[in-house]
């Protein structure tokens, strides 16, 4: 039994509720309250991890109440191995971002701090909700809810061309969201068996069958929403402007956490429910993934804006994650989940470091104006070095473990994609070392002030670096807990893919090779799946 058993419905609402309370307090108290709430949220997540036995699986802390019974929508929450560490990542990075935002000296603090922390809290509630939702409609609600606080956070507290950036961001995301909404409704309706009741519960949807013809458009709509959110090439048009405009604590969350909700959706929603489409469109997704990896890496080493170096490298890293997911292999999926966590850690740390670097380069985030500060800022140089090496997935870093598993998964059946992706590993070394050197080494520019990193920045970054180092030594902490729930999500799609493309190598029991393609027959599924009438 857990030591503390707070229902998830309360747990996820706390950040927003605290933000509301903060509105009534003096600005300074509101900042401290936000900080305490973020810390408490993270502390509770540590209990959740401690409570989850290695090798375990299944939903915990389940809340399952009827919400809109007429439409079959339930208020269904739960944490399993797949979402556990994404919830943990969210809580940790929110804490880091809140530390940096709340503790900065008064003269550099945000205007309207109470409103800022309210939006930050609402955003955390939405993200946590998306990670723990077990009902598709609820997932869609939380997924769209994320847009609102980020719209205000970028639009009101942003820098430079924030209006244009916000508009692009909103248009992209809205188009994706609307497509997903339509797809969710269509999915719920089309998969309802004759005489059965409509349901949006994810486990129920995974049980129901849908013809491949119906799955494909639904898959494409979901994929569009998730790929925009991540983003992957060529859905990244909003990224440069939004990354340049967002205030740094917000950018930390945008890049490190929000991007994960998109790719998480593939594992939570798409693969278990639409396995036939996933197999049919596997090549397409792999091409997008590999293209993103190469394109992101190449652009990352031709950028001068530090934020965009990290931004484009994120496109490449998310490409790796999608590659791992759509390799439809156990190791690939495991690597993808692990990479979600590790990429979140390094991206967050890098953006916090960029804040520190800009503070030493006369406020500029241009690489050309940085440099030469390693001698007088050895602590900053050291943490930056560790994070850089982790970002380029140096063996020994946690990111390497994720990348290794992803590549192994890709090599298994799709070796060409795996080999092309391997090229990008070398490119990552180029852009990260270049970034590190231009910011730290060479001679100091005229506007550069070499001084050590401040305590506030350090308080935000050091915990992340500690987690990065810890996971580098003992990645099994995560892998042992994500293993079963992750592989279960892709199981069906993997068997379908294995049955058609590599039958003799791994004959899965009960699956007829090529069965799914025989016209007029229902798709052959695993024996446990109850067959149902197909809707036209």
């Amino acid at each position: 039994m857990p030591v503390l058993d707070i229902p998830l419905s309360i747990f996820i609402v706390i950040p927003f509720a605290v933000g509301l309370v903060g509105l009534l307090l003096p600005a300074k108290a509101a900042r401290w309250l936000a900080l305490v709430a973020a810390a408490a949220t993270f502390a509770y997540v540590i209990f959740m991890i401690a409570d989850f036995a290695p090798g375990g699986s299944g939903l915990r802390y389940v809340t399952d109440e009827p919400w809109i019974p007429a439409l079959g929508i339930r208020f269904s929450l739960g944490v399993d191995g797949l979402s556990l560490f994404l919830v943990a990542l969210t809580a940790l990075l929110w804490l880091a971002a809140t530390v940096v935002a709340a503790l900065r000296p008064a003269d550099r603090a945000f205007e309207r701090p109470r409103l800022f922390f309210l939006h930050l809290g609402l955003a955390e509630t939405a993200v946590l909700g998306a990670f723990v939702a077990q009902d598709l409609a609820l997932f869609v609600v939380f997924f769209d809810l994320m847009l609102i606080p980020f719209y205000f956070l970028i639009g009101q507290w942003g820098t430079r061309e924030r209006v244009a950036a916000t508009t692009t961001f909103v248009i992209y995301t809205l188009v994706g969201s609307l497509l997903m909404l339509a797809a969710a409704v269509a999915l719920g309706v089309l998969s309802t068996p004759e005489g059965g009741r409509i349901s949006f519960a994810l486990p129920e949807l995974a049980q129901r069958t849908l013809s491949e013809g119906a799955q494909i458009p639904i898959f494409l709509a979901f994929a569009a929403a998730f790929l925009v959110k991540a983003p992957l090439f060529p859905f990244h048009g909003w990224l440069p402007a939004a990354y340049r405009a967002a205030p740094l604590p917000v950018l930390v969350l945008l890049s490190a956490v929000l991007s994960k909700v998109g790719v998480y959706g593939f594992l939570r929603v798409v693969l278990p429910i639409l396995p036939d489409a996933a197999v049919a469109l596997q090549e397409l997704m792999l091409v997008i993934a590999v293209f993103s990896i190469l394109y992101g890496s190449i652009l990352a080493f031709s950028q001068d804006d530090a934020r965009l170096v990290v931004g484009y490298s994120s496109i490449a890293q998310l490409g790796f994650i999608v590659l791992g997911i759509f390799a439809l292999d156990d190791k690939g999926a495991q690597g993808a989940v692990f990479q979600m966590v590790t990429h979140g850690l390094v991206a967050a740390a890098l953006f916090l470091i960029i804040g520190a670097l800009a503070g030493r380069a006369g406020g500029s985030e241009s690489l050309a104006r940085m440099g030469g500060i390693a001698m007088r800022a050895p602590v900053l140089a050291a943490v930056f070095l560790i994070v850089s090496l982790a970002t380029l997935a140096m063996p020994g870093s946690p990111n390497f473990v994720g990348e290794l598993l992803i590549l192994f998964g890709a090599f298994e059946d799709k070796i060409v994609y795996g080999l092309v992706a391997s090229v990008a590993v070398g490119l990552a070394a180029v852009y990260m070392i270049r970034f590190f050197q231009q910011a730290m080494h060479h001679r100091a520019g005229p506007e550069v002030a070499s001084r050590e990193i401040g305590r506030v920045d350090l308080a935000g970054i050091v915990p992340l670096v500690v987690v990065i180092l810890g996971l580098g030594v003992y990645p099994q902490l995560v892998l042992a807990r994500t293993d079963r729930d992750t592989t279960a999500r892709i199981g069906e799609a993997r068997e379908l893919a294995g049955g058609t493309s590599d039958a003799q190598a791994s004959p899965p029991g009960g699956v007829t090779p090529g069965g799914a393609t025989v016209p007029g027959e229902p798709p052959v599924r695993s024996p446990s799946r109850p067959g149902g009438e197909q809707l036209p």
Binding site: L71, T167, T168, I171, A182, V185, G188, V189, L190, R197, I198, G237, P240, A241, Y295, I298, L299, F301, S302, Q303, D330, K331, Q334, G372, A374, M375, P378, A382, L385, L392, M394, P395, F400, V401, L404, L405, L407, F408, F411, E412, S422, V425, G426, L427, A429, V430, I433, R434, Q437, M440, H441, H442, R443, Y474, P475, Q476, L479, A480, D483, T487
Partner: protein
């Protein structure tokens, strides 16, 4: 797994101590550097490596007490990655081969640490240097002690990172940071090779543990496609790390690092990791003779190539760097010709004499005021620097494999084995002899140009008792150093005036002279006995050249070395104008060799420029289309269309249409919901 024995800890405990001591040194120096007064960081760093060496000896002694067949011990700390069919422990393998490497690495590292205490004594990055250096030793030990392929890759990448950090140690120099990034990226290419090889090994043999994989590979038929591919990919890793063609271009540039780094990482230890890798995976290579032949051919090409470049290069440290590339070519040829103990023997003697040569070079460069490394600016240092002269000459003699010095026995053992393989290997053996002649020539070219001839002003000044000092400059560009941050240090140190430097060089000089006695054909077989039974499963263990062949080889090698030295003497001391006129007459060949066969320029055209162009194209063209024209601006931009739409909705008729559309969508949704109900 092991009950704690009553009196002496088992070898694996010592091996863990070997591994952890330098790590402790790294962490302590990194965290407490501000609290360490004076040169304490250097003493601390040296102490941990020295203790690590002692622990290595205890591990060896413990291993010797075991029966030969029980000398392969695995110790596992915890599961590192365990998912599906992949199960990787944080485990070390203690066997004679790993202990051999441990002793060479920690022994040489200890001496170079001691040397650095003086050599970098006045550098402002003193503590940082020792933290990095200890980290390097830890990484190298992880590489050689790893019990499975994944951990090997981790150590492999860590040494690459340490190498990068130390190459760009004087990071205010653009030349140093450029060299660093080059070394890092080429090493990552090698890492990728190993990762793909690891996948193939897992796929074919079912495990990434060394012992399990080596057991499983016995069942695999010779020439199995997957195993051949895996071996070729292992070679990619080995070539990248060991500076072999075509991945060697980073190693000469790596001389940007402080000279002790060149001695330790880029000569004695890290760059020989490729040789260790092939020896470690010998059960796989013996199943894939085609891959082994590829390795042997490339090793031979490299040893010839690098010898020709060393012949004409004028930068003292780069000459030694090319000679390292060449000597590693010999080792690769050896282990790929299945002469494992000969390869490891040469690895050991090379570590001694090459570290010694670099230490001597460091001393000479210091005497020039750290401003220049060109041998054109050197000469006549014999009288002013007698200790450096003596030790450098010993090192050069061992490199030239003059009879009875250490390199003589090890190099010629490799060549004898190569001839014994016959067929293709006979050709490779002849090439190896040709390069041996060149080696003797360029080794003594260095000695004669640096220590003999007209003394340069700095040498005369030094003979008068004064060390030249003109403020540090970048030797490559002549750019003045930023003394404000003190890189490199404001003072410089020569062996004659520094006890730690002498204390490090003297033992190495001794070993460079006598190190060969452990394996003299017909008399001793120290290396082979030491390595028993690592290679016991090898089919080639008994297929060895008879003593007569080996002794003939030694005689030929000795004669060639003497001819080479004599030729160098003739060219540089007896007829000083000869080299210049030959250079003029063969200007084309000279330029080809001097520019290292133009490979750098070729890679620049093939890889560097195209990827830069791709980046530019992406940034200016593709992004403009996606981000600016199609989305943001232009007549059809999405944002523009969106804002126009929004304006129309607010102001005009469009509002009604939009409302209608929305209602339509809702009606459609409602219809589906009702129809399903």
């Amino acid at each position: 797994m092991m009950p704690p024995p009553p009196l002496t800890p088992p070898p694996v405990w010592w091996a863990w101590a070997v591994l952890l001591l330098p790590l402790i040194g790294t962490v302590v120096i990194a965290l407490a550097w501000k609290l360490l007064p004076g040169r304490l960081a250097g003493y601390l760093g040296s102490l941990t490596v020295g203790l690590s060496f002692l622990a290595g000896i205890f591990a060896y002694v413990g291993l010797e007490d075991l029966p030969p067949e029980g000398r392969e011990l695995v110790s596992s700390a915890f599961t590192y990655i365990g998912t599906g069919d992949l199960n990787v422990d944080l485990s070390i393998l203690v066997d004679p081969l790993s202990v051999f490497m441990v002793l060479v690495v920690t022994g040489v590292s200890f001496l170079i640490h001691v040397y650095s205490i003086a050599y970098l004594g006045s550098d402002r990055g003193y503590a940082r240097f020792f933290s990095y250096l200890n980290f390097f030793v830890f990484s190298m030990l992880l590489l050689v002690l790893a019990g499975n392929v994944v951990l090997l890759i981790v150590g492999w990448a860590f040494v690459g990172a340490a190498s990068y950090l130390l190459i760009s140690f004087w990071y205010r120099r653009d030349t140093a940071t450029t060299a660093g990034i080059k070394a890092f990226v080429i090493n990552v290419i090698g890492d990728v090779g190993l990762v793909v090889a690891a996948f193939l090994i897992l796929d074919r043999l079912g495990t990434l543990d060394y012992l399990g994989a080596f057991e499983a590979v016995r069942q695999v038929p010779e020439g199995d496609g997957t195993i051949v591919a895996a071996c070729l990919l292992l070679l990619v890793g080995a070539f990248a790390k060991s500076g072999q063609l075509p991945l060697h271009t980073w190693l000469p540039d790596a001389m940007e690092g402080p000279t002790p780094v060149s001695a330790l990482i880029h000569a004695a230890t890290m760059v020989t990791a490729g040789v260790y890798l092939i020896a470690r995976f010998h059960p796989l290579f013996e199943r894939a003779p085609a891959a082994a032949a590829v390795g042997a051919i490339i090793g031979t090409l490299t040893l010839l190539f690098a010898a020709t470049v060393a012949l004409v290069s004028t930068d003292l440290k780069r000459i030694i760097a090319y000679s390292t590339i060449s000597q590693i070519g010999y080792m690769i040829l050896g282990v790929c010709a299945f002469a494992y103990s000969a390869g490891m023997f040469h690895l050991m003697t090379h570590a001694f004499f090459k570290a010694l040569l670099f230490m001597g070079a460091g001393s000479v460069v210091s005497a020039l005021g750290m401003t220049n490394e060109s041998i054109d600016r050197m000469g006549g240092f014999r009288r002013a620097m007698p200790f450096t002269f003596a030790t450098f000459t010993i090192g050069a003699g061992a490199l030239a494999s003059l009879p009875l010095l250490s390199g003589f026995f090890s190099k010629d053992e490799i060549i004898a084995y190569t001839f014994h393989r016959g067929g293709l290997y006979t050709v490779l053996g002849i090439c190896a002899y040709v390069a041996a002649l060149l080696t003797a020539f360029y080794a003594f070219r260095m000695v004669f140009r640096v220590f003999f001839g007209e003394p340069v002003p700095e040498a005369e000044q030094l003979a008068g008792g004064e060390l030249a000092h003109v403020g540090p400059r970048n030797p490559l560009t002549g750019e003045e150093e930023d003394t404000d941050v003190g890189f490199p240090g404001p003072e410089h140190h020569i062996a004659e005036r520094s006890f730690p430097m002498k204390a490090a060089m003297a033992p190495l000089a001794l070993l460079a002279v006598v190190g060969g006695v452990v394996a003299i054909p017909g008399l001793t077989a120290g290396v082979e006995t030491f390595l028993e039974p690592t290679f016991a499963g090898s089919a080639y263990l008994v297929d060895r050249p008879p003593e007569g062949e080996q002794i003939t080889g030694l005689v030929i090698g000795g004669v060639l070395a003497l001819i080479g030295v004599a030729a160098a003497y003739f060219v540089y001391l007896r007829r000083p104008g000869l080299a210049g006129s030959a250079q003029r007459r063969l200007a084309g060949v000279h330029a080809f060799f001097f520019n290292a066969w133009y490979l750098n320029q070729l890679y620049d055209r093939l890889f560097v420029r195209p990827s830069r162009a791709a980046g530019r194209f992406g940034r200016t063209t593709v992004e403009r289309f996606f981000v600016q024209d199609a989305i943001m601006g232009g007549p059809s931009g999405v944002v523009r269309a969106g804002t126009a739409l929004a304006r129309a909705i607010q102001t005009g008729y469009l509002r009604a249409y939009a409302l209608l559309l929305l209602l339509g969508v809702c009606a459609l949704a409602l219809y589906f919901l009702i129809a399903s109900g």
